[in-house]
């Protein structure tokens, strides 16, 4: 592309469209990203439809133990929990590939397929919620630190350094041991120990440095950029510079981060649940179902396999979407166009 034609000749003929809209258009035109988005929408819809599936398809309560239940397969009544002939140990029913117990049962006799859908809700909620918290916190910290400079910056940057060097799982485990056993009380704000917000907050907080550090760097370089100098030169108030010149540019970066952080958070949620410090039973997430399945790995591997595959598919799609968003929004993508010139 060329931007070097005669001065005055090249004014875009199309109607005015901002960089936001341009980026969105670019994103929509990205077929891979859109396909990924479609899959994600389907996953979300399926999870939203979990109660319908449980009620009308599987005819089961995915949160109630069903240790002495029977189901009919091929006209025969089969127990959900099958005792071994020695009277030692029970094995849950395996995948039936039918409406009921499509993926089999877990060690409480609950329908794994129905729990997968409910678990997906929590996994998606936690991944989304923690991403929002992380981006909000990181944006705030990064902008305040980068824009204030001085002692505020020093303190915040040091705090980020500390958080950064705190091994993620250890930080998460430490936090959750406290939070999950006692909940959180911050003035009028109280969090029940079983609140879904606890994993959301933990995951959100531990990754703040990952986002806040680049944001801070970006704000520092934005604060030195010509257009901020131009605003200062005009006598524009600092607060207005922050809101008009810095925040919108930082927002782009945050948007680029969003799907990638969501993918990362989804994996972290699974890991924390696996360490039994995420979602608390009988509620489920894909991570806790993997944990349920760990105890049945050798006898009923499907319980652990299915949620792992669900996580994998969702995270792959988030990454595809993330690639698309980055291409559409990242200013560096434009730089590349520039260097092509």
């Amino acid at each position: 592309m060329s931007l070097t034609s005669e001065d005055g000749a090249r004014v875009a003929a199309e109607p005015a469209s901002g960089p936001w809209r341009a980026a969105l258009r670019k994103l929509v035109q990205n077929r891979t990203a859109m396909a990924a988005a479609l899959v994600l929408v389907l996953v979300v819809l399926a999870c939203i439809a979990a109660p319908l599936y449980a009620k009308y398809v599987a005819h089961t309560d995915p949160f109630g133990s069903n240790l002495d239940g029977q189901i009919t397969i091929g006209g025969k009544s089969v127990p959900v929990m099958q005792p071994s002939p020695t009277g030692l140990g029970m094995t849950p029913i395996g995948p039936t590939w039918r409406a009921q117990y499509f993926l089999g049962a877990d060690n409480q006799g609950r329908d794994v397929a129905a729990r997968m859908l409910y678990g997906g809700r929590n996994s998606l909620l936690i991944a989304t919620g923690s991403t929002l918290i992380c981006l909000a916190l990181a944006g705030l910290v990064g902008v305040v630190a980068g824009f204030s400079g001085g002692i505020v910056d020093t303190v915040l940057a040091r705090a980020l350094d500390v958080l950064w060097a705190f091994p993620v799982y250890m930080l998460a485990i430490s936090l959750s041991v406290v939070l999950i056993s006692h909940g959180l009380k911050l003035g009028p704000f109280t969090l029940q120990a079983d609140s879904l917000l606890i994993p959301v907050i933990i995951i959100g907080v531990v990754y703040v440095p990952y986002v806040a550090r680049p944001i801070r760097g970006q704000v520092i370089s934005l604060a030195r950029s010509d257009f901020v100098l131009a605003s200062r030169c005009l006598g524009v108030a600092r607060r207005r510079i922050l809101l008009r010149d810095i925040v919108p540019n930082v927002t782009t970066t945050l948007i680029v981060f969003a799907p990638l952080m969501m993918a990362l958070n989804m994996l972290t949620e699974a890991a924390l649940s696996f360490l039994s410090i995420g979602v608390q039973p009988p509620a489920a997430s894909w991570g806790t179902i993997i944990l349920d399945g760990e105890g049945l790995l050798y006898t009923r591997p499907m319980v652990a396999l299915a949620p792992g595959i669900a996580i994998m598919i969702t995270v792959v799609m988030l990454n595809f979407l993330g690639d698309g968003v980055r291409e559409a929004f990242d200013p560096r993508a434009k730089l590349r166009v520039k260097s092509d010139r």
Binding site: V162, A263, L297
Partner: protein, 321 residues
């Protein structure tokens, strides 16, 4: 330069002290963590509990306890466990280090080589089916929970297909020290190596490919191409060299993270008694001295890796100046 080192060291110490204080405070804010209750044993009377508390110095003010703990950890190095009294923390950590390093080094070799192959191949065949496939597999590798992959590996190699020729050589989960048997060491680690490497192959392969593709649009590459160098030579001799800078810094950080105990989940699932597994046990037991040692050990690796990468970056990449 010495001043620079001293300053950097000061920053490291600050970070480590902050972390240790944080860990300490979190521990004492944790309900059900009264070390005296567990040291004393089940059903101990309040009098016994008080006596135990006193004998372990747990009745001293928190700042004093903190200082004492740090003294025992760093000065006298005889800090002992709250759960297995008498067990010294420092040797236990040192004993776990070779396991973790074995795991991480081996995985690193695999992932670096494989990522180079994947990245270069994909860049060379960019926008072909091969490229797309390689990138898809890389993405899948990045997108699997690593502990889940380890479980699937266990399922396949330990149980389902353990009796087939493919996996009959796989030993029981656990670690065989290099000093005991080189072959045993290799066999015990090769599955965990592979599992751990998968994520990073995907990650590095993707980054390498995009760096290579970007580099190939740079002017100096065009010059090289104009000179009639083959595509292969261009990738291997010119583009790769520049792209490696990013990879080296990524590698430094990831290696630091993993060697510092970041491979916790895979160590737990694969039954490797490394630092991660030590940390996991310590956290499960709320064994403060061990948590402290493990977290600080991990933090040191992370901070050192950060510093080294910063310095390397300044040395390798003139633009960073």
């Amino acid at each position: 330069m010495i001043l620079v080192m001293v300053r950097r060291l000061g920053e490291m110490v600050f970070v480590l002290v902050s972390i240790s204080v944080l860990v300490f405070l979190i521990f004492f804010a944790t309900p059900g963590a009264d070390p005296a209750a567990r040291l004393a044993g089940r059903g101990a009377t309040p009098a016994t509990l008080a006596a135990v508390r006193h004998s372990f110095g747990l009745d001293k003010p928190l700042p004093v306890q903190y200082v004492l703990m740090m003294k025992h950890l760093f000065v006298t190095q005889d800090l002992t466990s709250f759960v297995n009294p008498g067990e010294k923390v420092v040797p236990a950590v040192l004993q776990a280090v070779p396991v973790t390093l074995s795991l991480v080094f081996g995985a690193a070799i695999i992932w670096v080589i494989a990522a180079l192959v994947v990245g270069v191949l994909a860049a060379w065949a960019r926008d072909t089916v091969l490229d797309r496939l390689l990138m898809l597999f890389s993405l899948i590798g990045v997108s699997m929970p690593v502990f889940w992959l380890a479980e699937v590996a266990n399922l396949i190699t330990q149980a389902r297909y353990h009796d087939t020729w493919l996996f009959s050589w796989v030993p029981a989960l656990g670690y065989v020290p290099l000093s005991v048997s080189v072959v045993g060491w290799f066999k015990s680690l090769v599955i965990p190596w592979t599992v751990l490497a998968v994520t990073y192959i995907g990650l590095y392969g993707r980054v390498l490919r995009s760096n290579l593709v970007e580099a190939m649009n740079e002017d100096y590459i065009r010059t090289a191409r104009a000179k009639g160098l083959s595509e292969r030579q261009i990738i291997l001799r010119h583009a790769l060299r520049m792209s490696l800078i990013t990879l080296v810094s990524m590698f430094g950080l990831d290696f630091g993270l993993l060697a510092g105990g970041g491979a916790l989940l895979i160590e737990v699932v694969s039954g490797l008694p490394g630092v991660g597994e030590l940390t996991y046990q310590a956290l499960q037991n709320l064994d403060l001295p061990f948590i402290m040692a493990a977290v600080l050990y991990g933090a040191v690796f992370i901070v050192v890796a950060n510093t080294v990468v910063d310095m390397l970056y300044a040395v390798i990449d003139p633009r960073a100046r």
